[in-house]
Symmetry: C2
Subunit: 298 residues, 2 copies
């Protein structure tokens, strides 16, 4: 398989569905497998969060037990803490996303730690995982990397210091999350100019700017993006987050621009058009409703 | 008043409302005047189309009779044909938008002419207007400049030839319209590289790409954009057009990037939040619902 010019991780089965009315694990599994069939190479399939905290993510181990082993796909799971890490290891997870928050207000409220303590705690967990399985992939997601709606003001310096701390404490990659859609192309450039472009971006489309932010990052050299089929998404802990950047929106623009994603847009749109039956409402992506662009010679 | 770095023409009172259930002229007038109060310097306030063809635009002369004369605002009216031009002149209109179509299929169906015949006909009307009033401003809008949903395939060469024909036949400026939201950043660049950047862009957000297209054009040097408050819009003659690029989406990103539009975002958002009562449904702009971005230091 040719190397993809841009890596898209579809987080639909996890971030896309976590704030919806619960969908049973079999149908979340079906969605993940369908995405693989459309050529998506990285898929966040489940979250090993407590089902009491997030009922929509119950049954993560069942999902992972049934995922097919495919050379072409890396199946990711979100792990919120040490207990989740243990459950994920028991379930055979080989690729883990951790989250820490650049918002001190969010971090204090939701995990009772400072952002710095959060990174230190993750470093310990990562050490345990690495000792158990040297082949495990880790990706640390920094939430609120482009602003916070909680009154505190994370700035570029805060985010850059967290990136430095994570690079020192943790193996693996880093993804910067725009958790409630407060990024702009200028803010994206300001952060990337400080931390470099060897990061992924996880963008929410709260204000309709997510695609523009992704393209600004692409221009600067970023090559990894989290998206969600249909533009589903939102956090039970981040009111007003808005959906994720829709996978089909990004794939349409990248493929039209000659940038290979490895994803078949028509197959992806067939999946997207089936989502309203899964979640009981229209999906946010306008591309999902309108379909591909008609041809135009240049 | 300082010169604006980017000129935004809000077409909400015209393109935004023409496909909605009819709103009486007084309320369309109120919307236009409110936009002026928010700092919008160019406003398309009415269309002198036959009220039988587009009932929502009835009363254009009444709107223009009541518009305040403001040094800071240019009030535009769409004129579809010679009869419309005569009515507009009688109503005291000083800035006229004409439309021609790069789609031969659309042009044949809607005006019974080839695109070239359409430009020639406009040239005659423009000559009559210019003879009556030397100070009149004209802007010729080329619809379907980035693709057609009607099966024909306007390409860059077709659009470039029309631009050349219009420049030879017509005074005034040219605006390229993405009538049904089929543009992409690559297509925008391909067209602008052929016709130059001394054009305006009129973008529809059918696929959620309009803002990205605008920013791609801005990077290349375009400084004039048509937008619609709330992202309202659509054509009675172009099914599936989707709304216009929302004024508040573009203003948010430009002002955040230090690019002066002369428009007060908070005032604009107050107008936008009142639109649902006017049209009876939520407006498409996500920025309208979510509001400005919280501060972020860089």
């Amino acid at each position: 398989m040719a190397e993809r010019a841009v890596t898209i991780r579809d987080v639909g089965p996890r971030d896309g569905l976590q704030a919806e009315a619960p969908v049973d694990p079999q149908r979340r599994l079906d969605l993940a497998v369908a995405l693989a069939g459309a050529g998506v190479g990285d898929i966040e399939a489940a979250s090993f969060v407590s089902p009491r905290a997030v009922p929509a993510m119950a049954g993560a181990a069942d999902v992972f037990a049934a995922l097919p082993a495919l050379d072409s796909v890396c199946w990711w799971a979100l792990v919120p803490n040490r207990r989740g890490a243990e459950l994920a290891m028991d379930a055979g997870v080989k690729a883990v996303t951790f989250t820490v928050s650049a918002s001190a207000a969010y971090s204090a409220k939701n995990v009772g730690m400072t952002p710095q303590e959060g990174v230190a705690a993750l470093g310990e967990i990562a050490g345990v995982l690495g000792a158990q399985d040297a082949d495990i992939r880790l990706d640390t997601v920094i939430s609120y990397s482009f602003g916070s709606p909680f009154g505190d003001v994370p700035d570029v310096g805060v985010v850059a210091a967290m990136v430095d701390q994570i690079r020192a404490a943790m193996p693996g990659t880093i993804t910067l999350a725009d958790t409630t859609g407060t990024a702009t192309p200028r803010r994206v450039a300001a952060v990337l100019n400080r931390v470099g472009t060897d990061v992924g971006l996880h963008l929410h489309d709260t204000r309709g700017i997510a695609l523009s932010n992704a393209l600004a990052a692409l221009d600067l050299g970023v090559r990894r993006f989290d998206t969600s089929v249909g533009g589903l998404g939102g956090s039970p802990f981040a009111p007003g987050a808005g959906g994720n950047l829709a996978t089909e929106d990004l794939v349409l623009v990248l493929e039209d621009g000659g940038i290979d994603t490895g994803i078949d847009l028509d197959a992806l749109l067939r999946i997207s058009r089936g989502l309203s039956a899964l979640v009981g409402h229209d999906v946010p992506s306008r591309t999902s409703a309108a379909g591909p662009v008609p041809s135009f010679a240049d």
